[in-house]
């Protein structure tokens, strides 16, 4: 059985699948990174992805253009972010609670909205057509390389965008004045406001950007990954992304690696359940990504704790020597 297992794992298409599965988690994880940098815990990502996935698909369907769909999803994401911001920064609703409210809109509200706009219940299977799905592209030159080409070429445009955004976000946060201000607000709001940075404004900007990234993740889900919107589509990816952000120490590149880890766990799940003799364990296999997330969080928390202890011990040691 293990021989068979390794045979399926060490194949180009397995790595291809990992990248494909990672992309939406990565978008959401980056969304978590940017808002967390400004000190805003955005637990509404799950709902944001559900809602933007729906609207992305609907916009694409109405205009028969996937570009409009993706932009529409981003716009809706931004609006949701600003709504959360308005309630949390202006009316002082706890940010966790406004996140939960967005998640509620994501579970039931989307079904209602879908019905309101199209008269359909539960999924958009009837509306799918090829020109509203996000196209895949073959990268010239790379697609000629034997194994690497199979892995890296032929993904959806948004998949590449997800990985490009990791570096864009990194540059934005560490090389631009706006990024610096956002980080300052997250690290010490009082210090930031004492030098004339508007804390609230930075938080609004961060959560709006977070919404836009979640919108990309949502659009990816409905317009490429599951080819249409359905009720259980996001399946906790927004929550997994929160864990990926925490495990990646709140940095874009770290979040990318932990997203890849969850992509791996998810891809393993699909591979393992296809093996002989594993059919009656399908529910336990289904559990793998979530267990990996908890274990990952535990390791992350332990490393932080150890680091904190080392910092505390240092001055004492210096005194002793």
């Amino acid at each position: 059985m293990f021989g068979q297992f390794f045979q399926t794992i060490f194949q180009a298409d397995f790595l291809f699948i990992i990248i494909r599965i990672t992309a939406p988690i990565l978008f959401a994880a980056l969304a978590a990174v940017i808002s967390e940098k400004a000190g805003v815990a955005n637990i509404g990502l799950e709902g944001m992805m559900m809602i933007t996935a729906l609207f992305g698909f609907l916009f694409a369907y109405w205009t028969q253009s996937w570009v409009v769909g993706v932009l529409g999803a981003m716009l809706v994401g931004i609006l949701l972010g600003l709504m959360m911001g308005f309630f949390s920064f202006k009316l002082k609703t706890d940010i966790i609670l406004s996140g939960i409210a967005v998640n509620m809109l994501g579970t039931g509200g989307t079904i209602f909205l879908l019905y309101m706009f199209t008269g359909l219940r539960g999924n958009t299977g009837a509306l799918v057509s090829p020109n509203i799905l996000i196209p895949t592209i073959d990268i010239p030159l790379i697609n000629k390389i034997p194994v690497l080409g199979e892995i890296l070429s032929g993904h959806a445009i948004l998949t590449y965008l997800a990985f490009i955004f990791v570096f864009i976000l990194r540059i934005f946060l560490y090389r631009t004045p706006l990024g610096l201000k956002i980080r300052a607000v997250g690290e010490n709001p009082n210090a930031a406001s004492s030098v004339g940075v508007s804390v609230t404004r930075m938080k609004y900007i961060a959560i709006a950007m977070s919404g836009a990234l979640a919108g990309l993740g949502g659009a990816f889900m409905s317009m490429y990954y599951s080819q249409g919107w359905n009720q259980g589509m996001v399946a906790g990816r927004g929550f997994i992304a929160l864990a990926a952000q925490a495990m990646g120490r709140g940095e874009p590149v770290g979040a990318m690696f932990s997203s890849l880890l969850f992509g791996l766990a998810q891809a393993m799940k699909t591979k393992v359940s296809g093996l002989r003799g594993m059919a009656s364990y399908n529910y336990l296999i289904e559990m793998i990504p979530y267990v990996v997330t908890i274990i990952g969080l535990v390791f992350y928390a332990m490393s932080i704790k150890r680091k904190a202890r080392r910092h505390q011990l240092k001055p004492i040691k210096e005194k002793l020597s």
Binding site: I43, N103, L105, F239, L242, Y283, Y290, I294, V298, A301
Partner: protein, 373 residues
Amino acid sequence: MRDKRMVLFGFVRGAAAIALALAVGTIFIFLSSDEPFTALKYLLIGPFVSFHGGVTAFNTQNFYQVLAAMIPTIFTGLAVCVMFSANQFNLAAEGCVLVGGFVGALVGIYVNMATGWHAVICVLAATVVCGLIMLIPSILKVKLGASEMVTSLMLNFVLLYIVLHFLNYHFADRSKGATMTYPFLDSAKISSIVPGNSKLTWGFVIALVISFVIWVFMYRTRWGYAIRMIGINESFSLYSGMNVGGTIVLSSVIGGMLSGMGGSLEVLGRYNTFVWRELPGYGWTGVTIAILAKNNPGLVPLAAFFLAYLNKGCQLMSTHSDVPSEMIDIIQAAIFLFFAAEQFLSGYRQKLVVKTTREELMRAESLKATEGE
């Protein structure tokens, strides 16, 4: 004087938030429906009034059904209250309800006790198991500082798949078309307290009693005080020598126990076999209830009643008109946002405070003037 005004202000504010949320719901009904007035009628007064044959009358069965729907949500509401009071955003009540229902069902099927204690043992087993489950996120939080929110969210999915695994491959009744367990023994069922098919069981009475017990626990005992103190100011509690870690674990375990109890009472009271194949959603309703009750266990039944009423209204609305019952989530989200908003109507509150203070000052001055004479 000041207290009275502030209490009144609290009620006005809550009512305004609910009215706003219902207004949002109404807008959506008018946008989506061809028969908005029928929809509104069933949403707002449907749960209590029957319109059969043009005769409007009080609908007892519907009323009992609303009360019956409160059973699981009172428990999750209390669970969330206790955990949120200690500032623990632990959202695993959702998974615990499912596990509680499953454990209660298993004990009700496989443990053969012919006495009246059977149901009690089922519920207690569920309570204990779910209390133990809550040790996971709370100990990870206390010992390692892992965010209880994220671990509990993940834990919900883990619990769901564990239950599904055992339901499908170990305890399924293969003679049935759908996946379900064998029927409970009669001795394990929670019996109804009213005639009819409303499923209003003794669970409802237990829920009310437990609400009172939890209120006493939170406001009249040392441990309840410690839990609330940690929620108000964790550093203060730590420096004043409270066992913060232990108290956080305690609050989460109580939360788990309450959720498990609610889940088992619901399953043994409402169904004949275990039929849940997804997370039942009562944990999230519990969060809304805790927000509406402002973490006060005494107000939980009231909040649960309100939501159960609204939910029943939405169901009736979707049967009798063209508006889907998922409307409830939009209304709930709106309630959530406005109700939890500290600054909502803060301008009015400010005016009230100023007015009260001015009056007090004037009275003090007139008092001084009379003393001077």
